[in-house]
Subunit: 327 residues, 2 copies
């Protein structure tokens, strides 16, 4: 299993700084999460019901004809490779590593490449897996180009899988509204934009036959009642969503400007993080950690990902630390 | 996929009685659930962490040397058959049907029989799956007899799987404290005794090598943060647990007495339900449903399962309805 989470606790031990004194910029989770209300006791007590309206609300929010609630994108990432016989699978790199791991584990022939190389060569793949916008690189794709790639794959029973975990800030670029097309599979997550990473919940948008096969593989009750209760309200809260999008975009621009002022112009990013390639990424990561600021370090290529500082004080703290570190 | 849940909503439609006017005795979920506190916003926002103490608290509560938190027994039921090469599997019948379904689906040779037949013939199985106490039959087993069966199976790399979803009221009969033994796998659930069926959470008790293989199969984050937060407190609440056990046993005895007064002496049961074999089970189920009382109907053998009425008014309502129906 790949390692996830626990980074803040480990950093707290390694650098001798108590957890509560860190500025944690190591995730792509929105610091402006949807305000979760208290959950009624009955919701904890009763078995969840599939016909509680959650699927319909998700369908409306994602503009997707059909959706399946799942226990996070992770659950879908693990199950999708089990629904195909051995295939040639092209996967975006660098990117969220669980995709390649899951397809390899299920016995498929996996190639990881930059998206441009993958898309230039669709005839080589039975399945093409992209992350859009990519994490950590932030690459964007032209939806028309992706639909063209999908059409080529679908013509020979291939799949285009697009992990849109960071797409909520720019819904106009989502392919979810085209997912009635056979072989087009879009993964959405509520962890990042809604700031509900603790809920471990997501949705798969695809045509009904594939969703039914996936549902059969995952079994009943993939999401608990309290999560379903919270999601129904968050997905329906259009006013909050509009305001959150604007705030995230503005904060992400503010982060970009701050990084640029320190000579760290981002190589890529999106409304939820910015990403900087630096040959000295490791040293920079450590120097910031010594000052209680946790970033996400990537080895290949050497780079740092910065999540959004939650407020002015956090921006000032990052600004001050970068001044010290990069002087 | 087998059908689950939604029974109350369907009955409401079928009998033309609004959901809120039913006395729902169709589940084995405690009506005296653990009082769930409000969950802090930060728990919804942050990724769950494996080292939050939940496993240690479950280990103490179940007296099991090693435990793995899972998204309900259901998740373990589906994954365990994937960890063995094709085997001869004996499964208790009648019982929770997902066990047989999962083993068959994974390509094993499955035989379903009464527990007495299975246990009289352990040499025939590579894997023996029991439910203890059984649902709906309520059969109990002598722990020593089960440990003997396990020893025979384990000697040839076999497994004894015991689903103890209804065991919390009688912890002295649990095998969980013996699960350091190779090939002994005990499934526990927080849905019934703690009244947390909405959480979809459970624990697998087994030796570390098997738990690690299961963890690898299930992937990261099988439980969300809010569920982990609630469970840590419920599992540690010894005072509530003691009082709940007494109250459930007393209420279950009260239900047994009431049923017996109406000539419905239970064929079996446990602290969370009573089960009555009746050739006219279907007619009785319908007659009670017409009076807004939902029981769980089983076809093979024809029988009704009664969950615990939550209070005196519910007991009186059941008493009155049985008087009318059976006069």
């Amino acid at each position: 299993m790949l390692e996830h989470g626990g980074r803040l606790q480990r950093a707290a031990r390694e650098y001798g700084i108590p957890v509560e004194r860190w500025l944690d910029l190591s995730t792509g989770i929105s610091p402006f999460g949807w305000p979760v209300p208290d959950v009624p006791a009955s919701v904890w007590q009763r078995l969840p019901e599939d016909d509680d309206g959650l699927a319909e609300m998700a369908s409306a929010y994602y503009q997707a004809p059909h959706v399946l609630p799942v226990a996070g994108s992770q659950a879908a990432i693990q199950a999708l490779p089990l629904l195909r016989k051995p295939s040639r699978v092209g996967i975006i790199a660098p990117g969220y590593a669980e995709h390649a791991r899951a397809w390899r584990h299920a016995g498929h022939r996996v190639t990881t490449q930059a998206a441009s190389a993958l898309l230039a060569n669709t005839a080589s793949w039975d399945v093409l897996v992209l992350i859009h916008p990519n994490n950590p690189g932030g690459e964007r794709f032209d939806p028309q180009e992706l639909l063209q790639a999908h059409a080529e794959l679908a013509a020979r029973d291939g799949w285009l899988v697009v992990d849109e975990a960071f797409m909520d800030v720019t819904p106009q670029n989502s392919l979810s509204r085209f997912t009635h097309r056979k072989g087009l599979i879009v993964l959405r997550s509520v962890g990042k934009f809604f700031g509900l990473a603790g809920a471990r919940a997501g949705f798969v948008c695809a045509e009904p036959t594939l969703l039914e096969a996936l549902r059969e593989k995952l079994g009943p009750w993939t999401l608990g009642g309290p999560t379903r209760y919270v999601l129904r309200q968050a997905l329906a809260d259009g006013a909050w969503q509009t305001q959150a999008r604007a705030r995230l975009l503005q904060t992400s621009e503010q982060l970009t400007a701050l990084l640029a002022r320190h000579g760290l112009t981002p190589s890529g990013g999106c409304g939820l993080f910015q990403w900087c390639r630096r040959s000295d990424a490791l040293a920079l990561h450590r120097a910031l950690a010594e000052r209680g600021i946790l970033t996400r370090l990537f080895d290949l290529p050497p780079s740092l990902r910065f999540g959004l500082p939650p407020n002015d004080a956090a921006f000032e703290r990052l600004d001050g630390a970068l001044t010290e570190v990069l002087q």
